[in-house]
Symmetry: C2
């Protein structure tokens, strides 16, 4: 039988390596904008719909507060967004883009196509890859946090 330790390495390691290779590709592009890849993801969320609570940003990106809190603080320090308590519920912090944060979208206009080109996949492959990754993510998530015997 083939070595299970090698077989296993293939899917998960391929994923791990590909993910890092992609962020490597983003790095120089985003560096010119003073952004990291996770910071760029937060801006993508906010460019899509501004003034959202931290909780929603976390749900969109599958990131927890331990990651987001300091990240958002850095973006605030860089003048790209503001943090404000919601008067109706003082627990929730609403994140809003500043004018500088909004205008950064224009400067980032070339990023998506540059990345799309760097990945070197045609439309069919891209769609299929996304579909497979989505199902894989859902399947893995159902195992990690619950699986058979999850109790809410």
């Amino acid at each position: 039988m083939p070595d299970e330790f090698l077989l296993d390495e293939q899917t998960c390691f391929a994923l791990y390596a590909a993910s890092r290779a992609v962020t490597d590709t983003y790095r120089p592009l985003l560096g010119e904008l003073g952004l990291t890849y996770p910071q760029y993801l937060v801006l993508l969320v906010l460019w899509e719909s501004d003034a959202r609570p931290v909780k929603e940003i976390g749900e969109a990106l599958h990131l927890d507060y331990g990651t987001l809190s300091p990240l958002l603080k850095r973006l605030e320090a860089n003048g790209l967004l503001t943090r404000a308590r919601l008067p109706a519920d003082e627990r929730t912090v609403v994140i809003s883009l500043t004018e500088e944060g909004r205008s950064l979208r224009t400067r980032a206009a070339g990023v998506p196509s540059a990345i799309g080109c760097a990945l070197g996949l045609d439309d069919t492959e891209r769609r299929q890859l996304i579909d497979t990754l989505r199902r894989l993510t859902a399947s893995a998530a159902s195992y990690s946090s619950g699986g058979f015997d999850a109790q809410p």
Copy 2:
């Protein structure tokens, strides 16, 4: 036209999310062995062929010394491997498994199949995913470190 910032998010973010979901699945399994996922990857390399210089481990995993040096130090502190200068070339450090490091392979025997099951992909999908990810990684790498105008 569709929003490029949304379109772009799909491939790269799907990859980013899937990669983290998979390591989430590994975490409890490897936690019982006292390992993290990158540490597990290093052991996979060494289980395949022991007594390798740090350089080769880095090439296999696409990791640099800044990541590997402290990681290997932790594995050494945990008694899983040893580090020794090569007499023939005092610059290179050879990493060798201890008896405990070798025996951990037996305790990890159930990990690959458990992960394979959690991913929920059939053999065809798995093969195709790996193939796509490999080409994507290669394409991205050729852009990041070189691309058109790389000068050695």
